[in-house]
Symmetry: D3
Subunit: 311 residues, 6 copies
Amino acid sequence: MTGDIIGPVDATVVPRYAGLATFARLPVLEQVGRADIAVVGIPFDSGVSYRPGARFGPAHVRQASRLLRPYNPALDVSPFAARQVVDAGDIACNPFDIAEAVGQIQAGARRLNEEAMKLVSIGGDHTIALPLLRVIHERHGPVALLHFDAHLDTWDTYFGAPYTHGTPFRRATEEGLLDLARSVHVGIRGPLYTSEDLGDGFLAVHCTDIELHGLATAIERMLERLGDRPVYVSVDIDVLDPAHAPGTGTPEAGGMTSRELLTMLRALAGHQVVSADIVEVAPAYDHAEITGIAAAHVAYELISVMSGGKT
Amino acid sequence: MTGDIIGPVDATVVPRYAGLATFARLPVLEQVGRADIAVVGIPFDSGVSYRPGARFGPAHVRQASRLLRPYNPALDVSPFAARQVVDAGDIACNPFDIAEAVGQIQAGARRLNEEAMKLVSIGGDHTIALPLLRVIHERHGPVALLHFDAHLDTWDTYFGAPYTHGTPFRRATEEGLLDLARSVHVGIRGPLYTSEDLGDGFLAVHCTDIELHGLATAIERMLERLGDRPVYVSVDIDVLDPAHAPGTGTPEAGGMTSRELLTMLRALAGHQVVSADIVEVAPAYDHAEITGIAAAHVAYELISVMSGGKT
Amino acid sequence: MTGDIIGPVDATVVPRYAGLATFARLPVLEQVGRADIAVVGIPFDSGVSYRPGARFGPAHVRQASRLLRPYNPALDVSPFAARQVVDAGDIACNPFDIAEAVGQIQAGARRLNEEAMKLVSIGGDHTIALPLLRVIHERHGPVALLHFDAHLDTWDTYFGAPYTHGTPFRRATEEGLLDLARSVHVGIRGPLYTSEDLGDGFLAVHCTDIELHGLATAIERMLERLGDRPVYVSVDIDVLDPAHAPGTGTPEAGGMTSRELLTMLRALAGHQVVSADIVEVAPAYDHAEITGIAAAHVAYELISVMSGGKT
Amino acid sequence: MTGDIIGPVDATVVPRYAGLATFARLPVLEQVGRADIAVVGIPFDSGVSYRPGARFGPAHVRQASRLLRPYNPALDVSPFAARQVVDAGDIACNPFDIAEAVGQIQAGARRLNEEAMKLVSIGGDHTIALPLLRVIHERHGPVALLHFDAHLDTWDTYFGAPYTHGTPFRRATEEGLLDLARSVHVGIRGPLYTSEDLGDGFLAVHCTDIELHGLATAIERMLERLGDRPVYVSVDIDVLDPAHAPGTGTPEAGGMTSRELLTMLRALAGHQVVSADIVEVAPAYDHAEITGIAAAHVAYELISVMSGGKT
Amino acid sequence: MTGDIIGPVDATVVPRYAGLATFARLPVLEQVGRADIAVVGIPFDSGVSYRPGARFGPAHVRQASRLLRPYNPALDVSPFAARQVVDAGDIACNPFDIAEAVGQIQAGARRLNEEAMKLVSIGGDHTIALPLLRVIHERHGPVALLHFDAHLDTWDTYFGAPYTHGTPFRRATEEGLLDLARSVHVGIRGPLYTSEDLGDGFLAVHCTDIELHGLATAIERMLERLGDRPVYVSVDIDVLDPAHAPGTGTPEAGGMTSRELLTMLRALAGHQVVSADIVEVAPAYDHAEITGIAAAHVAYELISVMSGGKT
Amino acid sequence: MTGDIIGPVDATVVPRYAGLATFARLPVLEQVGRADIAVVGIPFDSGVSYRPGARFGPAHVRQASRLLRPYNPALDVSPFAARQVVDAGDIACNPFDIAEAVGQIQAGARRLNEEAMKLVSIGGDHTIALPLLRVIHERHGPVALLHFDAHLDTWDTYFGAPYTHGTPFRRATEEGLLDLARSVHVGIRGPLYTSEDLGDGFLAVHCTDIELHGLATAIERMLERLGDRPVYVSVDIDVLDPAHAPGTGTPEAGGMTSRELLTMLRALAGHQVVSADIVEVAPAYDHAEITGIAAAHVAYELISVMSGGKT
């Protein structure tokens, strides 16, 4: 298929800082008609409980993705040559009505899924994971959830609201969207409201586990848990330590390094990752784009895994 | 009344950077029972259309107000000695439901008004002006509105929402809360959606007017318009140029200086200012607290005017 | 002509922070075929003598232009409805060879000028003004130059280089591109290398003149000088005080406010502005986008003037 | 005892960003009369030798502690329910006279110790550790010191001054406040003045040790050294790498991660921690509150350890 | 005298960003033996009552002064050619003992004055003005003080300390160092402790005066007051609005612009300025060096005035 | 030799923040005549392909090196006492002509090498490594290259330019300057243009290797590869993770910690390090000097290794 694929703008002709900011300088969807993988922004942050600002996440991650180059040596794959990857722009949604926005995201993702097999969604806050999982469920039935996050995001409601950035996986569980026995939270840490927040059914790999038992062990547990199920990957950027991701809404000390996160993601090579999201990048708190760069690399590794083997 | 008044913490005993951050290091309401003037935070920003973050405004302005000293030489008044001024804490409201939050603000302000004659509210976004004006109307009937802002905030709806930071004065007009013939917008500038956004009934003193005709002329027009009506003052900090107030949600170039704004406020001395708000301070975009300091000084001048003459 | 014009993305459907970052959320050139006015980025900064970084200027100004709305009340014009205005993307040029880059800019601007009558170029550093003026000269012969800048940019060479950000107007004068008798520098200030740097033939309105004699006088001198010649406007953002434009390469204290600059630009209404550039926005030194916002507003006022009267 | 304990403000009623900034939104001491554990600010930084600013540390750490939730899953304890924890405000001290300030801190801490068994002091610079240790000594005799720091802080004098942020443990040793055989420095790194600075009697766990031999080994050495003595924990935030704690006065590359530090602190569970301090948070150098958040989590883990088992 | 004068490093050979950071890239005192005017740093900030950090002021202003060029068109003078100007390095002083530091500054300035007729001192906080005035008094007797500042700095003591950044002019008055009848404060604004803080004898030009009556009037009053006395100029950078000088210790809204300040300083041309200081630049709060650049320009204008007419 | 050696300014007399900013407050070359080791700045960044600004690197690293103390406990050496180390200032070079600049750097380094045996060069961008290696080759023939970098820097040309920051080691290999069989890249990560970018002959220790196999293994491989050849060490600061070094031009997530880098450098003790460079520090993107501090420590460890054993 490589022959017809349109890749990123050629950096030997157009410097990386030049041209409109699409993800990794890829073509927009309109330019190619159909795609294997679409990167889509979902600039919605009205579900946050602390620092808002993730509505600017998509624009920020796009700008920070200008340095991504076409060949991934860690996985020996050229993802943008192996698959048609595009930037599908943003799904517009109502900032003043969470329920309406959740509907708009669901409709938008479903529509987009008709033109692109797999989505890599850039948030926005974690509220967006619920409508995205609903669309995935329509296609794949219950999927294994691989959830990187400082928090479990399994609260029931917050200020009476059922859809917030703290509740998507409670709702998803209730709606039967997940294969709980194959799902795993990674990077959990920090204080909770009560011991009941720990959730049921989910396996959690705590940051302390990584510190004391090493990353290889964590990878092993993750892979064992996922088995060979189709996987949806949801990355809350606050899984990284604030040193690595200051630009986020509910930072917790004691997190993962970006090297650990990228290494875990690469371990998914060979698994069927059906779609993914990267959420909670709040640019107003970022510095020198380091959070944006981390998020762009996370997206790049996920796309690499999705793009399968070498072309 | 001075005898019983509790003023700010004594800076010759407790350095200004020490102690809990109440506004101007004033006592909290619980400490004094009743007050003449209460500073109250309203950390609500779910009505913003661009950069969120004003929910952190009250905490930021309090921290930036530590340098305020007790004597105001420009008006020759010691406001914290002339009147019992307190910090009444924050009105808690639901970040996920604008209508509920508007109700909570209205109820909270009404309750607070029973203990303190006049309120100086620190936002939060401009959505909060509507419930505050409703409470004022219950007491005073239609008031003159003195509105400092880069924008008119007279849109009808936005994404179908009737209550946002762009609509409070449209709603207030419809509800008859304002004496339009005595109301004035100051500092308007920048592009609009359509020419109809210019509003009816309101007088607008544009930034260009101030530039070309001078501040004294602007003050004159303002005072003439207000006449001797009770005045509610609403200060959107974006009335200041982004150089003076980078920490805000919808900045527009070409604004007022803080010196111009403070001078205009001092010209209200002798007028009956019934209450006031200062909104749209978004700390994540501030630098070195300069926006917070400007907002704190705005509050200080308003309190000075409210506190009447020298004690 | 309004019927066929494609304007900016509708902000009541797509929030201002959503969607790809084109200037003012206007369509790209490809989308409309031809245009009256094209905004084009020229991300070149290899001609700077102090702080580099203006290569990121176009992306930064585009991001900061998201708040621009369609109606300009100061001039009573809706520029994006009166004329087809587009974002023409960036002209790619070689960062390692100034002479080659100057040639690329000249060729790119000439080509673009075939599809769009007037260009508003976003730099990049001031080196780009020379090739842009050459293209203008091909069309219009010698034009009046209206140059806003802290510096005269009339050095001969610097480190032997004839094309740098300090030399464009010396070269332009030598090449006969300017009608010197109708040209004027505004905002000059700060120390020079020698008294000979003051240049010949140009009129200079110093910042001290504005301070002591007022803006109205400065406007008068500017308009008198320009007469009725076709005007090319070149705005080095460092004409603004560092308080208003920290994000630039050679800041000088004692500059203009953004309000003064915008007011002067609006005074061009009725004049034939043939093209314009806004240069030296260096985002790494900006804060809260205030420099980018100022530059976006400068571009907006220039487009408003170019777009002529009300539609 | 839980019945009578007043915990933090309920985050399901008052959003975390709302309300006055007490540590972890706990009650102030006045509100509860007596406490088991008091968090107290000591905003004194006149003992620093390089970057000042830690006087703003208490206010900054309080603001950054808003996200702390009540249940600590790592230790399976709800510290604010197990014990009455309060914010005791700040100890005011003279910024212009170090000796007087040391006396004020000592008197203030002694007085506070009558109302609260254990203190968690938020500096301020490391000078404050000496008067705090004196008060501890009055109660407990010589204690084991567990000292996390990039530096040993065992200089003799600096510019003739015996009390500075580089000397507290030299003084404490001379005054017999410490059980040297049970004390340990952790995180030491970076260049010293002379090889004599290495101190006598203290055991030092260097950062290189942690890098090459792993955290588990470091924890083992720490616990072995402390034995079962009552422990005073002193955490200079510069023990963290500048990536994790940019907001400090004498940063040294090559430090600990926040995850390592928090894990080491949790290993104290079961030990008698008699009091603790967290010092050298200099907010002017912080970014996105990451240093403040790290310090707040350090305090939280220390309080968790102090609060003993599950309630 | 020009023949023997060593000026700044030649910017056509060594780029402005290269080479060690001396003020304006001037030679150090050792290089030239004697000088007419010496710029000297006094990195002392232990006298501050709020934000510390001015100890880093000299290094910051030197770095920000790299852009200063040799010819001053506003005064038509080339100060570094007209006079031998040097960078005399810093006067070292004890950060832990204010009284000793004041003595060290006095001794250092006296010694330096033997090698350089006039000093331009870069603080450091305002405490340093007292020892500098003492040295001036030894040479010139009581001088006219021209004091630019948001504050009067005429407190008696603060926390019992007679020498702080709030007291120098009270002490100087008591010691008879000033010709009060010829002295003037400019730029005063903001709240005070009491009405008695307004001081006696001094004339004060308030910021409001400048706003309402114009700069020309303020200049007139200043010049009238100074008469033909030898003048000592003391510039607290907080005389500028926080928009122009965020990097300072006790910022007050409503201040002067850098253009106003520079214009006032240029009006001193022809007066005998015997020495000067620029204080309270606190780099940790600066952004993009804008405060440092303003301070460097202030120093440059003062040196220009001191250097007399054209060579 | 210690007797005649001039070390850094005494910090017990002159506080660390005082005095002109030479590297580690060492004497300048002029002061001592000859030196064993010279630190030299090369402020050149016209070879960068993304974020420029490393031209300000030397000044920034000098300022950040003020905290370096004379004794290195990790290696038990006092490098500034063991050897005469100096700050040799900056090599001036043309920012507008890369080829000329490369020649100027080569000439400058050769000249300096006559006065100082070993150079520690502070960039500037990585372009400078080529002329530095040429000078080394003149003295030592082909050397082992120990290259810390996120990137290989072995492109052929970029925009037709043979000398850029992406090409030095391709050129050096072609010119026979390196002993490839003894050279090693450490810290490589992130996407490449093509799989051919991986280079031939070089050994690469990837960041993933360090993550999964540990630092001790990486050190072993490095030492094995270097054998006993004279080593030139080239440290691109982007080898560190953006969390540790935000202030750089082409940041890649997933990098090394500063602790890992410093530990690897210390492992060179006993090896003949003939010279070294530290490049790509771009201060405009730094925060709280953390990148500068990391670079200063890197230089300090390299000097320590160069200075050999204890004196």
